[in-house]
Symmetry: C2
Subunit: 233 residues, 2 copies
Amino acid sequence: MTAQREPISRRERPAKPALTRRGIIDTAVRIMRSEGLEKVTMRRLAQELDTGPSSLYVYVANTAELHAAVLDALLGEVDLAAGGAGAVADWRHQLIAVLTSYTRVLFEHPQLARSALVARPSGENYLILVERVLSLLSRSGAPQEQVAWGIDLLLQYATATAAEHGTQKSSPGLQDDWKALTRAAHAVDEATHPMIKAHMPALLAGPAEHRLSWGFNVLINGIIHTPLPYAAR
Amino acid sequence: MTAQREPISRRERPAKPALTRRGIIDTAVRIMRSEGLEKVTMRRLAQELDTGPSSLYVYVANTAELHAAVLDALLGEVDLAAGGAGAVADWRHQLIAVLTSYTRVLFEHPQLARSALVARPSGENYLILVERVLSLLSRSGAPQEQVAWGIDLLLQYATATAAEHGTQKSSPGLQDDWKALTRAAHAVDEATHPMIKAHMPALLAGPAEHRLSWGFNVLINGIIHTPLPYAAR
DNA sequence: ACCTGAACACCGTTCAAGT
DNA sequence: ACCTGAACACCGTTCAAGT
């Protein structure tokens, strides 16, 4: 009786595909899209691939490396030609459009943005993005070292903003934090926190897209007009 | 025989102190200082307080809230008078000094910085810091709405930098990531990534303190000189 | 009201043993 | 070389039951 079971189940799941790094990461991306990065665990991934968690360690060093690979896969979706192509177009407009596209991609997966802040990405798609941002910012005519250091600021701002404000099944706890901050800021005592009181509506208000693009412009203007410290030149 | 044990151990641990929110958070801070935030778990904390994990939920909503409370406790260490006090002193110098002090505090606890990026802090000490930064930046003479929006940029930059580069028993994986990025950037193909090649030494080089204070200056200059988008005013 | 034990439903990573 | 089972050493959170 039970002896018949095995051949049948072999026919049903006949070709358990061989493990490859590629296949592992593709599966990880699929799980992330459908259930979020928090479900992309070694154990869950192994289950999905019909093996034990220990098997994955042949192809992936640890969970952090796995998440980094997932991030780079996702960066393939950034629109590098955003804002219109060609040298005719306004470099600033293009630069902000590309950075906004990058932010938008991470916005859907804030947990991935958080992991990008911790473990510096160094994948293929990340390097392509850096190359593109460098070439656009260079067209500002700013000194080369300011451009070099400025890239980090721009990408860090975009990444941190996605990590902070990203949507996606955000655990209800996050909205609570925002509420708590809003409440705390409004409830503040005029005598001890006069500046907060005075700046209060603007401090927390404003549409996210406006704040994001204003931030990009702040950085771009600052990068162009702020020379490196003497000691670093 | 065993009956004698109990009274003895009662005398050794006589007054198991009553649980309070205060006591829980103080213990959490102590564990973090000696072993890092990753050890500040509900279970470990309960063990330290000689109780079960479920008891803590009377005083603390969840792990995220616990970490937020630990963060605010730590923010008491920020030197709000850094850079010299008084209206005589240069506001920019003072502002950068306060922000650097904030960054330094978080630098010792990068995991806390990470949690600050995710769960907006709203504690007492955080509000005091915001108040101080607001009052310093106001002295720049920049329009009030630019100051209001700019605060976020400055604090986010400081927090993200601490989260990224923070030291502290940093899991050896992080240095590996930096090495990987450095290697990847150096190994890049001139034909496909000419801009990276051209900017390469500066892209990753430079002492952390110089980059940090340059970043603050970039933001300050940008905030002062970048008007809000028309639609947001 | 506060505290507890026990359970539920998970984690990452290692390692000896197999093929 | 690759894969596996089993183990080690943990997690957060809930909930019925006790005081």
